[in-house]
């Protein structure tokens, strides 16, 4: 009996550890951003793109309207791909599209808009990328659908046909 305690406990310990690590294998260790939880939109101070006036975030996101906050930049290739969807959405009456120009030069950004048309109702600057972090963004492009000062939907990466339809459905 005495000699059996050691091997039995060893087997139990090894099997317990095996089960734990085997279960651990199935967990994904790739970061998945939290989408879906409705967070309040951040409060910040920024510079307007055209007039270069400094304004508070409360001044633009007001009331019951739907807003689509789109982070874009002239140097970002996927932003070009999603631009036609943004132009499509700019025809929606109850949706205002706000652009956040991320780490961009004014000249390049203006050229970009002249070339592809401007879907934005309002654009503001983020020269050092800190406002994008206030929003919990990862990079460009990224879009937030806002309603009553809450983030209703977050689209990481370019807007595609599916997310376009989803946005249209949400703002009905």
């Amino acid at each position: 009996m005495r000699t059996k305690i050691f091997p039995i406990s060893l087997i139990i310990i090894v099997s317990v550890i095996f089960v734990i690590f085997y279960k651990g294998l199935q967990n994904s260790n790739v970061y998945e951003p939290q989408i879906g939880n409705q967070k309040n939109i951040p409060v910040f101070i920024a510079k307007a793109f055209e007039t270069e006036e400094i304004f508070k975030s409360e001044d633009i996101f007001e009331g019951d309207k739907f807003y689509l906050m789109n982070i874009w930049s002239s140097w970002c290739a996927p932003c070009r791909d999603e631009h036609k969807f943004l132009l499509n959405l700019s025809n929606q009456k109850n949706l205002k599209i706000i652009g956040l120009n991320y780490k961009d030069k004014k000249k390049n950004a203006t050229n970009f808009l002249n070339e592809l048309n401007n879907p934005y109702d309002f654009i503001f600057n983020d020269t050092d990328g800190t406002i994008a972090i206030e929003w919990g963004a990862y990079g460009v492009p990224e879009s937030f659908l806002l309603h009553k000062n809450k983030i209703v939907k977050k689209i990481i990466g370019p807007i595609d046909q599916n997310s376009l339809l989803e946005i249209k459905e949400l703002i009905q």
Binding site: F6, I13, T130, I133, G139
Partner: protein, 121 residues
């Protein structure tokens, strides 16, 4: 004597650099503990991605505004979730991670103790 004065003066001038050494180390310490979310496997300190550069400026800004290390961690945890910290807190998902070494240590100790006591007897 004149040489000594001169020497001391130079020493003082060169040591002015160290006045801000503490804050510099603090922002390094914080960014080393932040995971770069778009370039996994690297800390924000080591990465040069746009995201990491912005995060580094933000940490510096917050430190200048007088935020503490803890406040910055909580702020980023609120924005990006627990995953952004390399040093995970004690929570439902991590208690096994924290307790497993202690558990193994105790079980191993018990086995050794038992063997020794048995041998003595």
């Amino acid at each position: 004597m004149r040489f000594l004065k001169f020497f001391i003066l130079i020493l003082i001038i060169f040591n002015f650099n160290l006045v801000h050494a503490k804050t510099k180390n603090l922002d390094e310490k914080i960014t080393k503990n932040l995971r770069c979310l778009i370039c996994q496997g690297q800390s924000v300190h080591d990465s040069d991605s746009e995201f990491a550069i912005s995060l580094k400026t933000l940490v510096k800004k917050k430190l200048n505004e007088g935020s503490s290390e803890e406040e910055i961690y909580n702020y980023l945890k609120d924005k990006y979730g627990e995953w952004i910290l390399y040093d995970p807190g004690f929570s439902k998902n991590t208690y096994f991670l924290w307790l497993l070494p202690i558990l193994m240590f105790l079980i191993g100790g018990a086995i050794i103790l038992k063997l020794f006591i048995y041998k003595k007897n």
